[in-house]
């Protein structure tokens, strides 16, 4: 039996490789593969001939109502709704794969579907009561109701806990007042998952999630926002003016809204990840075709090393993104409870890989890439949002690193029952930090511990597994050293945390790539999986170099210097030098 309460990455930060979590690589079942193939083919028929429409809707900043009706009829709004409520009942894997396909054609369409399913109604699916599901899911499945997720406010983006929207109890109802900002699907949604402040008797501030529907009095939305990308997707404000919401519309536990919001975002991340993969696959198609046909100096540009490097890296990154997103989807589908760090990693990696691919594809197309006649610039504009929404990559990096360090804090608790985790009481915690470091000195010296090796991978992959194992010792040592160095100040040391997060991101993705190639090897043999072995080798070597570099910067770096330069700029609020 697998222990679904264990997190691969959280264990890894303690130097433990829980290999059975990531091996073997999840493969879609035969029957589901057949269904997905048909789904993919149908999506191609629905969207494949609409490229000129997508370009026009991007310019117009809106997609027509008739097209949204077509999406509804096609069934794209019912992807994650359980079959008993009239949906398709897709789990994360199939959902992610479907969004991938949609995103190949147009990111605005993918985000319209994604905001509905990944976040808009996911709270209802995860936390809703039977009565709530009965009341809304059948209409959400057909698209008769479109859903939106409403957390962000003018004063509360990354700092979601700072929301001002209030919910006051009045008799049996709650009365909600406040303003939400940049709500995807705002203009077309009827079902809003709204987060508002609720206080308990002691006056402590909490957050609670509510189901708000368009027909409630006092609900209104602002005009369609003009955006850089995703221009055809609807983004609006949402105004709640003393909206009466019945008690039975409280979603999830009262006063636990922050947790509800985070779980929705974590659980929905494979939608964004799938979208990024779709984008990258399309970019690879476009770039390879373009480079094969564009000639300079008498040769197709695909023959030049500089172009090969770009395309090769795109392929490696796309392979890695697909590995990590599918792995997270599998963790969710298999019922793992602790996947927040892994999901955050997949989001950061996917959004950055897509951005890099969009940028390089545009570069490969040269001046044509810059022309609106070609889709490159639109794809680039559309891709940019992924590093910002559903938690900015900065915030997610902090989350990834601090979770690891918090775990080490908890471990300390176990070492000495009188000491609380540093995140609760940093000063006390620091006292035993040294003890901890001594005890874990084995990690640094490479002394073999339990579960410090991959035992389930093919012997052909030993060399790459060793890269991972070696880097794992670096990771555990890095957590250790960073904590020793900064102790209770770690929360303020973002550059140290960032380094740690980058190591963790690289390692988890590498574990997923290793696992994926391991499965391909088992299925197709060394010859059949040769290219994938090459991809693994390239990626593993890149990870090794990055991790070593990051590790070397823990003790010796320019962190304080560069922050000083920035502080000077903040003081001046301009660039002070000039050459005239």
């Amino acid at each position: 039996m697998v222990d679904t309460s264990v997190s691969f990455m959280r264990s890894l930060c303690m130097g433990v490789i829980e290999e059975q979590i990531v091996l073997p690589f999840p493969r879609v079942q035969d029957e589901q593969r057949e269904t997905l193939r048909t789904v993919i083919e149908s999506i191609r028929q629905l969207l494949g001939s609409k490229e000129t429409d997508f370009a026009a809707w991007d310019r117009a900043g809106e997609m027509p109502k008739e097209f949204i009706e077509q999406l509804k009829e096609f069934g794209l709004f019912g992807l994650i709704v359980p079959e008993e409520y009239g949906g398709l009942g897709f789990k994360s894997t199939a959902y992610s794969r479907t969004l991938q396909e949609v995103a190949k054609y147009d990111a605005s369409v993918a985000v319209t579907i994604g905001a509905h399913s990944s976040i808009g109604m996911r709270g209802l699916v995860l936390f809703g009561t039977d009565e709530q599901k009965q009341r809304f899911l059948p209409r959400l499945a057909t698209g008769e109701m479109i859903a939106a997720f409403c957390l962000t406010e003018p004063g509360a983006g990354s700092d979601a806990a700072a929301i001002k929207t209030r919910a006051e109890k009045d008799g049996d109802d709650w009365v909600l007042t406040g303003n939400k900002l940049w709500i995807t699907n705002g203009g077309i949604a009827d079902f809003f998952t709204v987060f508002a402040r609720t206080g308990d008797e002691s006056g402590k501030v909490h957050m609670t999630a509510f189901i708000v529907t368009r027909d409630m009095e006092g609900v209104s939305v602002g005009p369609h926002e003009h955006k850089m990308g995703l221009r055809a997707s609807s983004t609006t404000t949402l105004h709640l003016d003393s909206v009466r919401v019945p008690e039975q519309n409280v979603l999830g536990p009262l006063n636990k809204g922050f947790k509800v919001a985070m779980q929705i975002l974590n659980n929905g991340r494979t939608g964004l990840g799938g979208g990024a993969i779709g984008g990258m696959k399309r970019l690879i198609e476009m770039s390879t075709q373009y480079a094969n046909q564009r000639q300079t100096f008498g040769k197709p540009i695909s023959e030049y090393g500089s172009i090969k490097l770009k395309v090769g890296q795109m392929v490696v990154n796309c392979y890695a993104t697909e590995a990590v997103v599918d792995m997270v989807a599998m963790l969710i589908d298999q019922g793992y409870e602790e996947y927040a760090v892994e999901a955050a990693i997949s989001k950061v990696f996917a959004s950055e890989a897509l951005w890099q691919a969009a940028d390089e594809a545009l570069q490969i197309a040269g001046g044509n890439g810059y022309m609106c006649e070609y889709p490159y610039e639109r794809i680039l504009r559309d891709a940019r949002i992924n590093r910002i929404f559903e938690g900015t990559n900065e915030i997610l990096r902090l989350f990834i690193a601090l979770t690891a360090m918090n775990d080490v804090g908890s471990q300390l608790q176990e070492l000495s029952s009188t000491v609380k985790g540093i995140f609760d009481d940093p000063i006390k915690g620091f006292g035993v930090m040294r003890q901890y470091a001594m005890k874990h000195a084995t990690l640094v010296t490479g002394y073999p511990r339990a579960k410090s090796r991959f035992t389930l991978v093919d012997p052909l992959l030993r060399e790459h597994a060793a890269v991972f194992e070696d880097a794992t010792r670096h990771l555990a040592a890095a957590v250790d050293r960073i904590l020793r160095k900064h102790g209770r100040n770690i929360i303020g040391k973002q550059l140290a945390s960032r380094r740690l997060a980058n190591i963790m991101i690289d390692l988890f993705v590498l574990a997923c790539v290793l696992s994926r190639v391991n499965s391909s090897l088992a299925e197709r043999g060394a010859e059949g999986a040769q290219r994938e072995l090459d991809i693994l080798k390239v990626f593993a070597n890149q990870v090794q170099r990055r991790v070593r570099h990051a590790f070397s910067l823990i003790d010796i770096n320019d962190d304080e210097l560069i922050k000083g330069v920035a502080d000077y700029a903040f003081e001046q609020e301009r660039f002070v030098w000039d050459n005239i």
């Binding site: 029957e31 057949e34 269904t35 193939r37 048909t38 789904v39 083919e41 149908s42 028929q45 629905l46 009829e73 096609f74 069934g75 794209l76 019912g78 992807l79 079959e83 398709l88 009942g89």
Partner: protein, 276 residues
Amino acid sequence: MKILVALKRVADPANHNKVKIPASGDRIDTAGLEWQINPFDLYALETALRLTENGKNPKKREGEVVVLTIGPKETETNLRSALATGADRAIRIEAVDEELDGRLVAHALAKIVEEEKPDVVMMGKQVVDSETNMVGQVLAELLDWPMATFAATIQEQPDGLLVEREVDGGVAKVKVTLPAVVTVDLRIVSPTSVRSKHTEAGFKYPYEEVRFAPLPAIMQAKKKPLAIKNLSELTPDLKSTTRYVKYEAPPGRKAGIKVKDVQELVQKLATEAKVI
């Protein structure tokens, strides 16, 4: 009306440049090819669906459409997608592509027809891979049924089907009584090409291609019956009688040339191309 539609999977014609022939020339290397249903067979499926519905209410089947293919397990994907677009049942006859030829396929189909007793057997006029254009004709002969090949339009009438066939230099109108074999051509999927007795006169299909399945229908299709039979049991004494001697890629086309003006063009046409 009960219609049996025969489907064959072919390598995606849009990817024909991926078709590779090894140096030995003894086979076609099918690794890495993407498969889909032969386009003409898809038209046949669309035709069968139109003949068994009221065009205004395409979700309700007025009759039965059974789809059939001969091929390996992977072809079930193609059958499922045909079920998702509206067919009621599917039959797969287990066989590998290499052991088949048109005659053998026609014999296997005839056996299935004996069991299923459809009113019409419908298929594409030919497949875009081997292009033999013979299965429909051989089958009609084996069954001793009337046939209408290259159908461009079909009207259902009380006593049969009125079919317009595309022939060299014009259109031939034939009336077939049922049961019959019909093979279809490209134009059969035009908005007004096919009319069942349930569809009112003047009705136009809002598309000019083959319908595709919405997602809920794909899920429902998983529950539709798919029967599997064995070629060796249907046609125990028969083998393919076609022998492939050698495979060769067609010669690559020579690069074109640019001409300065009309004069040069005329001159080249006369002296180099020797066509005028």
